[in-house]
């Protein structure tokens, strides 16, 4: 060490940073409940509006439940993403995170896991609601359902977390987030809807469900890798 220079603090390990960021987000959310309650209420309202609009004489449209479920999750997730990063911006905590001696990709992964946890908690309420309102038979194969739901949610959240973080200092960010996010997550939504619809069929086709699940896993890996590469570069200023 050359004289006159201070010792640099050791960089925090990757997964410890992820856990710290995740724990911070979950703690804040459990104390205030702001995003969780509003996201859940909005998603449930979406599903109810679809039910009012589409259920005729007690009969739901054939195969419509899967699409309605994922539209509600997508809209609610967009609101949650925008609000999560708006909270960081208002408290100036995002700047603090970026200045901290931690790996930047770890911040992304921590935020991603927080958003996924939030959305999965909302889905735990939405799935029974959709199943009830649209007589969708979603829970006949619960493990396959869990796989499809989690992988689709990770796909949505992986792109959404990156773009929400990128847009936090941009004007018109509320409008731009869905404009940027929705075209890119269309393949994930299609796979999620098709996978969920395949689960609800009376004649269960395991090969077809496995296909959509593997496609979702592939999308998740591609999007997360791209987001890890991109996050550092776009958050550097």
């Amino acid at each position: 060490m050359t004289p006159g220079t201070a010792a640099r603090p050791p960089a925090t390990p990757f997964w410890r940073t992820v856990w710290t960021v995740l724990r911070k987000d979950l703690t804040v959310e459990m104390r205030s409940g702001e995003i969780a309650y509003t996201t859940l209420f909005f998603a449930a309202s979406c599903v109810l509006i679809f039910a009012f609009a589409l259920v005729k004489e007690g009969k739901a449209p054939e195969g419509g439940a899967a699409g309605i479920l994922w539209i509600a999750i997508l809209f609610a997730g967009t609101l949650a993403l925008g609000r999560a990063f708006e909270r960081e911006r208002q408290a100036e905590t995002l700047r603090a995170l970026l200045l901290a001696p931690v790996p930047r990709p770890a911040i992304y992964v921590g935020k991603l896991l927080g958003i996924v946890a939030l959305l999965v908690a909302a889905e735990a309420v939405l799935l029974p609601l959709v199943d009830f309102l649209f007589t969708a038979r979603l829970f006949v194969h619960p493990f396959w359902l869990a796989g499809i739901v989690v992988t689709c949610t990770v796909g949505l959240a992986s792109v959404g977390t990156l773009f929400a973080a990128m847009l936090v200092r941009t004007r018109s960010r509320d409008m731009l987030l869905p404009v940027l996010l929705y075209p890119i997550v269309v393949p994930v939504i299609i796979a999620g809807v098709q996978g969920t619809a395949a689960l609800a069929q009376p004649a269960f086709d395991e090969a077809l469900v496995r296909f959509w699940l593997l496609l979702l896993v592939t999308f998740d890996i591609v999007f997360v890798v791209l987001a890890l590469w991109t996050f550092e570069a776009v958050m550097s200023d």
């Binding site: 960089a11 390990p13 990757f14 931690v102 790996p103 930047r104 990709p105 770890a106 086709d205 090969a207 077809l208 496995r210 296909f211 959509w212 593997l214 496609l215 896993v217 592939t218 890996i221 591609v222 997360v224 890798v225 890890l228 590469w229 550092e232």
Partner: protein, 104 residues
Amino acid sequence: MLRSMSKCLTFVRCALVVAAALLVLTGGPAVAAQDQPPQPQDEFVPVGNSPAPEQIPAAPLLIGAYIVVLGGLFFYVLSLSRRLGAVQQDVQRLEGELKRRGRA
């Protein structure tokens, strides 16, 4: 930081290869199980002379397609030229203004 990120990415890259391989191995039967759309043509077969009456209904679509392409390209080039002309005019105006201020 770079070492932990590269480790993470190496792991993820491996996972990507495995997932893609799994998809290839298991997706085929699933894809085959999908509803069958009409079989696509996999090659174009030329004919000699098509009977004239069969060509007529196709003509509006064919002509419309070529008009769309050529018209679209023409209007784009026009738009680009206009934008370029407007910006170059502004550049010349501002350069003149700067020169005047430089002299003044």
